[in-house]
């Protein structure tokens, strides 16, 4: 079911006339079906805006986005995509379990308590099912948001700095457990982050953006096993160095 994600000449400006501010410069990208790709760049460069355009939450100023032959709006309408937000966006009156179940409900899929429990287990929150978001730490909330996004079985998964508040150790563990999950499902995944380490660990391809307006300055493939395994740590270091060079 999954498909290539194509961005052709996509740009974004806020305001109009001479006072307009360009947030995203015209951009052409093709993300292969089932791949996991990182968008990295300095804070505030516009990569989150790009992600929101892919999700259909923000109209494009120019250009076109297609997932297979569907627009983001069409994809949204059949619950084909899911997004995990930077601020988690959990509903405070629902328990962790309720928030994860909400992802399934919003995607109009039948209840599946066992699958929800498994997802909660995967993001390392087993035992906290009945807690309210206010009782969870920032990192735990972000992990809950990822579980909620996965619960809807999306074909396109959009993650907006999902690990910003997650501690380094958990982040590593999550990387080794989550990436196989969405890879096995064949989910096309876009991950916005400003962490080079994270991008390399989780993704097969890293696209580097300049400061505002966002413009692609590098597009680097990460060799297989560099990210997830300890094998080839040296290669990994090389990729990272290349990335840092591109961002400088």
């Amino acid at each position: 079911m999954t498909a290539d994600l194509r961005l052709s000449g996509v740009s974004k400006s806020f305001g109009s006339g001479p006072g307009a501010v360009q947030a995203v410069a015209p951009c052409d990208l093709t993300i292969a079906a089932g791949s996991t790709v990182a968008l990295v760049g300095p804070s505030g460069c516009g990569k989150s805006t790009l992600l929101r355009m892919v999700a259909g939450l923000e109209p494009v100023s120019a250009g076109q986005i297609l997932f297979g032959d569907e627009t983001p709006d069409a994809l949204r309408r059949r619950a084909g995509l899911a997004m995990a937000f930077q601020d988690a966006g959990l509903l405070p009156w629902r328990s962790l379990r309720g928030n994860v179940a909400l992802g399934r409900r919003l995607a109009r899929r039948p209840r599946d308590a066992a699958a929800d429990a498994a997802l909660i287990q995967t993001v390392g929150l087993a035992g906290f099912e009945n807690r309210r978001p206010a009782e969870l730490s920032g990192g735990m909330r972000q992990r809950a948001a990822i579980a909620r996004a996965l619960a809807g079985m999306p074909e396109l998964l959009l993650l907006d700095e999902p690990f910003a508040a997650v501690d380094e150790l958990t982040r590593e563990r999550l990387g080794t457990e989550l990436a196989p999950l969405w890879e096995a499902r064949g989910t096309t995944t876009l991950l916005v982050t400003h962490s080079v380490t994270e991008a390399v660990r989780l993704c097969s391809r890293v696209i580097v953006f300049s400061a505002r307006p966002a413009r692609v300055v590098a597009d680097i493939a990460v060799p297989a096993h560099v990210g997830t395994g300890s094998v080839g740590a040296g290669k990994s270091e090389a990729v990272r160095a290349a990335l840092r060079g591109a961002m400088a």
Partner: protein, 508 residues
């Protein structure tokens, strides 16, 4: 525990002695007299409470339903907001002298007017907070729903409604005493039984134990409802409201919109009276009021009389209104500094709000004088309670991190109050200032009718008894306009102040 018990006993003892010492003056009934009255008239009180309570409950349900529906309409059809607000405010400001006879004629004998007046008493104070709750929507939640391609209905069902629940609870808490009072006053339009009937009877019969028993009963019931609704909120384990009662004030510059809303209100007024075929003799239409005040011969004299009365009323209402807001805010600040006082202040505040104003107003005026202090105090007493509740909620939403920051510098309670909690209260204070407008009008007109004999309240009572319904409805119209104008001034002030102190409240 023992100290608390002892203080209650001491209070009762002082009350008893005070009552006995002043027995010849017919002011205070002693606790022993109240207990005796309750024992001797248990059946009567039980039946009367049942009748009034049932009417209050029905009015409570209908009025809150109307308030919630109006708020929903405002959210789903944003263009209707100004109209809904105008309508809710005007309904809340309708004086009993004008509505009473109409309701009785419409319903005939029975509980209809009591239920309607109880409902009218709560529409506005529920509408405002629920609207805030429905609006208190972080961008992230809206994005979440949209990212699944779900529409406004899913947003309403899954996010807005649950998010508004705590606000509804806060609104219901304020509504409970108001509904009870509305039902009691509704009995003044002609009823066979109920606590309102007993109140009138007791006042006329100089029956102090009965008067005080009924007042205590009304207060106790309102307290119970207040506490019960609060407990329900806790039982439901609702997250406390985050920006209680604050609501982005309607955009300024919407003069055309305001005019349209006013036009709709006038049309509704006319159409409702025509639809029920109410005789023009006592149900004056907007056109009749226009004739009376502008077009007809003698209009100038009518305007002069009404204007003079309005001036006298404003001279009492404005200071009382400001004093009430200040009292509520100061009490809230006091409770923030000394939370232990809540056990004493809260019941007293609810009780003062719940005791029928016709019982308290003459007492207050008698104690403080008829000229200025008495009537001003009556107004202040009527409105400080919602302000207190709102400000407490406001203070409670001071972000934890900010309080921790102050604590980390070992800042004193005063400094914390001044720099963190008072600013956090500001939106709530403004919101309650808007909520208090109808209550202030009710209080000032009642005090004028019962005690001072001046102003628009006395004018309305006089003209109603001489069937001068043209003047009565002119007064109703002027009161409505004054309420709308006051509301607009507060909203403008609110925008000006909050844009400096709490810009996040005005973001959307």
């Amino acid at each position: 525990m023992i100290i608390r018990l002892a203080s209650v006993v001491a209070l009762l003892l002082a009350w008893q002695l005070g009552a006995q010492a002043s027995a010849g003056r017919f002011v205070i009934a002693a606790p022993s007299q109240i207990a005796l009255y309750v024992m001797e008239h248990a059946g009567l009180l039980w039946r009367a409470t049942g009748v009034t309570g049932w009417a209050a409950l029905q009015g409570f349900v209908w009025g809150n339903l109307a308030g919630v529906l109006l708020a929903l309409l405002s959210v789903l059809v944003p263009r209707s907001e100004r109209g809904s607000l105008t309508l809710a405010l005007l309904l809340a400001c309708l004086p009993l002298v004008a509505t009473g006879p109409i309701l009785r004629v419409l319903y005939g004998p029975g509980q209809g007017p009591q239920i309607t007046l109880a409902a009218l008493a709560v529409v506005y104070t529920t509408f405002l907070p629920v609207l805030v709750g429905l609006r208190a929507l972080p961008q992230g939640w809206a994005d979440l729903i949209r990212s699944y391609g779900r529409g406004p209905l899913a947003l309403l069902a899954l996010v807005r409604l649950p998010a508004a629940l705590p606000y509804l609870i806060a609104g219901l808490q304020i509504a409970a005493p108001a509904a009870f009072l509305g039902a009691m006053v509704g009995e003044f339009t002609g009823a066979e039984r109920g606590l309102g009937v007993l109140t009138v009877r007791a006042l006329r019969a100089l029956d102090l134990p009965a008067t005080w028993t009924i007042a205590a009963l009304a207060a106790a019931l309102s307290l119970a409802a207040f506490a019960g609704i609060g407990a329900l909120g806790r039982r439901l384990d609702l997250a406390p409201p985050e920006i209680l009662l604050a609501r982005p004030a309607p955009r300024s510059g919407g003069l055309g919109e305001a005019g349209a809303a006013l036009l709709v209100a006038l049309l509704l007024w006319h159409i409702a009276m025509e639809a029920f075929d109410l005789p023009r003799f006592f149900a004056k239409r907007p056109g009749d009021v226009w004739d009376y005040l502008v077009a007809a011969p003698g209009a100038e004299a009518h305007r002069a009389k009404l204007g003079a009365a309005l001036g006298q009323t404003l001279a009492v209402a404005l200071p009382g209104y400001l004093a009430g807001l200040a009292l509520g805010a100061v009490l809230a600040a006091g409770l923030v500094l000394a939370p232990g006082l809540a056990a004493l202040v809260m019941p007293l505040s609810v009780a003062l709000r719940a005791i029928p104003i016709i019982a308290t107003a003459p007492l207050i005026v008698w104690a403080l004088g008829r000229d200025v202090a008495g009537p001003v105090t009556v107004v202040a007493v009527m409105i400080f309670f919602p302000t207190l509740i709102a400000c407490l909620h406001g203070a409670a939403r001071t972000p934890r991190a900010v309080l921790d920051l102050f604590d980390s510098y070992d800042a004193g309670a005063w400094r914390k109050l001044l720099l963190a909690q008072l600013p956090a209260m500001l939106p709530a204070l403004f919101a309650s200032a808007r909520m208090a407008v109808p209550a202030a009008i009710l209080a000032v007109t009642t005090a004028e009718w019962l005690a001072t004999g001046r102003g628009i309240g006395a004018l309305m009572a006089t003209v109603a008894s001489t069937s001068d319904y043209g003047m009565l409805w002119s007064a109703v119209a002027v009161i409505g306009l004054a309420a709308l104008a006051t509301h607009a001034v507060i909203a403008a002030l609110e925008r000006a102040v909050l844009s400096r102190t709490n810009p996040e409240q005005l973001a959307r």
